[in-house]
Each structure stands twice: as structure tokens, then as C-alpha cells.
């Protein structure tokens, strides 16, 4: 358990979990986290999550990479070491496009992957112990904040009629 004040509700499938999340939120209790073995569709809206800004990271990463790639080639051939190839102009833009394109993709991809790991605080961790080994197998966990007047019994009464496997 992450801490003793967390109420953990275990489900065996996504549909009862989604219904339960709706009811829990209506009851005013706060959901800390939801752990699922695979991305459940509709969970983002059920938790009214904001859309990730990873695409923006990718946009600016790509923009930086593209400008860097193009700028570097232009600088090399016009300023640092001007050299004529095949009678073409020094700033021969078309032949700079492949490298510019690859730099754009490289920087966009790496910056997004980096942003994902940093924002999700995913790091090589030898000591990590999962809350429940079933979360990467077949268990769907909803963690509810139990610090206020929310108790396991109250959650239980809210969730009458929904298939819960376990609540603790």
C-alpha cells in the first residue's frame, strides 16, 4: 500500500471500474490514481484528465532539430568552408533537405520520449515494488484518498451493484 489512508478497490474488468469511477467521483471522494494492465478507453474522460502536452514537446523539439540541422549545413557551406560542388550555389537548399528532415525527426522523437519518462517519473529503480502484482496482469485498481471523511464502508455503499473483487 502506498499509505494507510489509501482505499484500494480492485476490479476484474474495465466496465465495472469505469462505472465505479463515475460513482466515486459523484460521491465527492478523490481518486488518487487508477492502475490498469492496459490502456482503458474512456478512462481519460472518466477522470477528466487534461490532454498530454507531449505533442507540443515534439513540435518544439522537432523545430529545434530542423533549424539546427539546416542552420549547421548552411553555416558550413557559406561561412565556415565555402566550397562549390558541381557548379551549384553554395546555399543549395534542396540538397540540405534530407539531413534537415532527419534531424527534425530525431530531435522530436527523442525529446518526446524524454518528456514522457521525466513527467511520468519513470526511472531505472531496483527497489521498486508494485502495489499489487496483478496490475500488470488482470487487475484494475482504483486508489481513493481516505484522509477526509471518506472510508472504505462509505465507498462500499456508493458502489452497491457494481462488481468489485476486493476493497481494502
Amino acid at each position: 500500500m502506498e499509505n494507510s489512508n489509501t482505499i484500494t478497490i480492485v476490479f476484474e474488468d474495465e466496465q465495472p471500474m469505469l462505472q465505479a469511477i463515475k460513482k466515486i467521483r459523484e460521491s465527492g471522494a478523490e481518486i488518487i490514481d487508477v492502475l490498469t494492465p492496459f490502456p482503458v478507453h474512456g478512462l481519460d474522460t472518466a477522470l477528466s484528465m487534461k490532454r498530454s502536452r507531449i505533442p507540443w514537446v515534439g513540435f518544439f523539439g522537432g523545430l529545434f532539430g530542423g533549424l539546427l540541422g539546416f542552420g549547421f549545413q548552411a553555416w558550413v557551406f557559406t561561412v565556415d568552408y565555402p566550397l562549390v560542388f558541381g557548379g551549384k550555389p553554395l546555399l543549395s537548399v534542396p540538397s540540405f533537405i534530407p539531413v534537415t528532415f532527419e534531424c527534425t525527426i530525431l530531435f522530436a522523437g527523442l525529446s518526446m520520449a524524454g518528456a514522457f519518462l521525466i513527467k511520468s517519473k519513470l526511472k531505472p529503480d531496483k527497489k521498486f515494488e508494485p502495489i499489487d502484482p496483478g496490475i500488470t496482469d488482470d487487475k484494475f485498481l482504483v486508489l481513493v484518498d481516505g484522509t477526509g471523511d471518506t472510508s472504505a464502508d462509505k465507498i462500499k455503499s456508493v458502489l452497491v451493484g457494481i462488481g468489485i473483487t476486493e476493497i481494502k
Binding site: E12, E14, Q15, P16, D33, V34, L35, T36, P37, F38, P39, G42, L43, D44, L47, R51, S52, I54, P55, G62, F72, Q73, V76, F77, D80, Y81, F85, G86, S92, S95, P98, V99, F101, E102, C103, I105, L106, A108, G109, L110, M112, A113, F116, S120, L122, K123, D125, K126, F128, P130, I131, P133, G134, T136, D137, V160, G161, G163, I164, T165
Partner: protein, 485 residues
Amino acid sequence: MMIQSALRNPLIKGKKTYQSITTDILDPMRSKPGSLWYIGIFISASALLLGAFMIFWTVWNGIGTWGLNRTVGWGWGITNFVWWIGIGHAGTFISAILLLFRQRWRTSINRSAEAMTIFAVLCAALFPIIHMGRPWLGFYIFPYPNTRGMWVNFNSPLLWDVFAISTYFTISLVFWYVGLIPDIGSIRDKIKDGWKKTVYKVLSLGWKGSARHWHRHEVLSLMLAALAAPLVLSVHSIVSMDFATSIVPGWHTTIFPPYFVSGAIFSGFAMVLTLMIVTRKALNLQDYITVGHVESMNKIIIATGSIVGLAYITEMFMAWYSGVEYEHYALMNRATGPYWWAYWIMMSCNLITPQLLWIKKLRTNILFTFCLSIFINIGMWFERFVIVVTSLHRDYLTSSWTMYKPTIVEVGLFIGTLGFFFTAFFIFIRVFPVIAISEIKSVMKSSGEKVSGGKVPGGKAQSEISQSGNSQSDKTQSDKSSEKE
């Protein structure tokens, strides 16, 4: 909720639960490998050792140990390079382009196809590096400040290749690893304590399947796919420009980029089929990699194979229509010259045999598909051989005309890369799940009401799934009653 088509069959067969998917896919990793695995890795590792020796031989004695000469400066080396890069393309096509087109059947094959991409690109990268003759000076190809005060030539397609292939390798690796993180989490939670568990713990980066993480993971996968899709098209286009920007007859054509890209996907899918047909049998994954998957891949093979065939015919037409006698001769020399056999192997394996897949009986026949995939692998290797060697060995200057024959060293190098590829794949199926576990679970649709509405005439698998779905909801029902008590 997603609308389910009533006409489509489910993507995986059998009565599966989330748990049985995890065990089905992880079991081959946890049990002792069978004798077939040992035989397989013994053969491939022997081939790898042969290749390692040939690398040593080449580097120690120089490129003179190859069959190259002043006229034919590019032989098996570049042929293998293009062939391997092409094979890698199927992995990215499956994981990126099919993701963008929402082809959900890809979930059964994407993970192993991506692994295949990485191994194939490594095999490909070997050839330009050892062809340098002095591979320890290989870093010269990167633009870095040096005492000569010079930079690399950014106008050269060979340099574009450096950027394209290193970017392609990096992005493929990132894409593969990001996709693997949740599945490594599954292994971590399933195996017993020990050093392996520690390794998986580190590799899983503490993945716990938090909703927020899944959301970001999905956005990232989609964005990486959106980047990888144009990337994969650019890589083989740039490889084709190694040829197309020159003035050698037979190379100097504008159709090369699309021709190479479709050829790459064509040959890559053939290799995916070769590997997957063996893997599904060996690891007992027939429920996950079904005949339906094989058929879908075969359809892509017909599409890309026909584009390749069209390109061959366009080359013939252009050789005549351009009125350039050198182009005309290059084509006639390919088809009737001393290397005629290579041209006709290419034509029959790539243009004629894949057309048999129009027959439904054949494209749903596993044994036929397996044989055909080998044919295509051979045919596509010969395509590159034909492009490289028959164009070079007789070009403008008649006095330089000559023949090219590979030496045992070049043959050994090629066998060595095959050895590396299969050794790496054999190790891969032991250490990582061959099927994306979490993605398969999300296409399983276990909740009864989702599939039970689908009416498929004679769809047996469909009814099986909906039964399992019902039993699932029965189970939840009983859970409910126990909850009330």
C-alpha cells in the same frame, strides 16, 4: 464506446482472459527452451561466428579479399546493405503506419517485427562500415570539428544515408523500448526473485500502469508513429538516391524512391512472415497470430509486390520510350546479358509468384505462404544484385566492361549477418515477450456486451469469444453477490 463491426472476426482466437493472455505469452520465456531452439541457435550462432571470422579477414587483409574490381566497385556488400535495410522497413511499417491507419491486427505482430527492424538495421550498417576498409576511421562520416578544418559533404546522398540510418535506428529503438516498458512490467511481476527480476525491475523503469502514464504512453506512441511513418519512407528513398543521383544507366531514374520503398516493405513483410510462421508454431501462439493475420500480411505483399512489378515494367517502358541507347542497352543487358539468370530470378520471385496470392485458398495456406515468403526474400535480394552489378559491369566505357564474382569472404559475410539476425531473434524470444501483451489485452474485448451483439454468419470464433465474454460477466455477477454478503 467503440462501434464494433458485425462483419469482422475477432483478432485473437480461443477463450482468453486477461490472465491467460499474460501466461500464454510469458510461458515460452519462463519454461526451458525446447531442443528446436537449441538447434536453431546453434546453427545461427555458427553462421555468426563464420561472419565474425570473415570480418576479421576483411579488415586484416583489406578489401582486396572481396571480388570487387575497378569497374564493379559495389558488389555483394551494398546488395546486402540495401536488402537488410529493406527488411527492417516492415517492422516500422507495421508499428507506425498500420497504427496510424488503425489496423488493430498489427498488435499480434508489431513487437517482434520492431525487434526484427533493429536487428536488420544492425546487419545493414555493418556493410558500409567494413567496406570503408579501415572501420576504425568510421567516425570520419560524422560532421565533427577536426584538425583538417573540413566538414563532410552535405550534398552527398551517402552522407544523407548516415543521417537517415542513424536516425532510423535510434527512433526504432526508442519506439520499441517505449512499447516494451509495460510488458517488461508484466514479466517483472510474474517471475521469481533473482538476478533476472532485478534486471527486469531496472528495465521496467518502475512501470505500474497508472492512468496518467497510460495516457501519456498512448499519446507518445501515436506521436512516434506519426514521426516514424515519414521517416521509414525517407530512409529507403535516401538509400535509393545513392543510386538515382548518379548517371549510371539503370540507376538514373526518378521512380527509384517509391520503387525502393515499396520493395522494402514487400521484402520486409516476407521476412516477417518467415519468422512469424515459425514462431507461432514454436511458441504455441496460433491463437494470437492467426491465419487472419497471415492473410492480412499477404494482402500487403500483393499490394507492394504489384507496385514493385509495376516499377519493373515502367523501367522497361522508360528504357524504350526515353530513346537513350545506354538505358536501352542496360535493360537488354539485364534481361539477356551474362547476368540474365539473376534478372529472371528477380522477375519470377517478385513479379510472378506473389500474384498467386490473389487466390484466397493460397493466401490462407500457411505452408504456401511460408514457401512464398522465402521466394520473395530471395527475389528481393536478387533485385538489389541486379540493380547494383548489372548496371555497373557494363556502363558507358566499353573498354572497362568486366564481370564480377563474389569471393568466399563476401559469401561468408552475408551468411554471418543472417547468423546474427537469427541469433538475435532467438535470444529476443527468450528475454522479451514476442507479442505486445498490453496491446493484445486492449483488443481482446472481453466484456460480453461488446461482441455478443455481432452477428457473423458462420463465425465460429466470434461465438466462442462472446461465450467467454458472457462467462466473464457471469463471474462478475457472482462477485457481486459475494460482495453483498
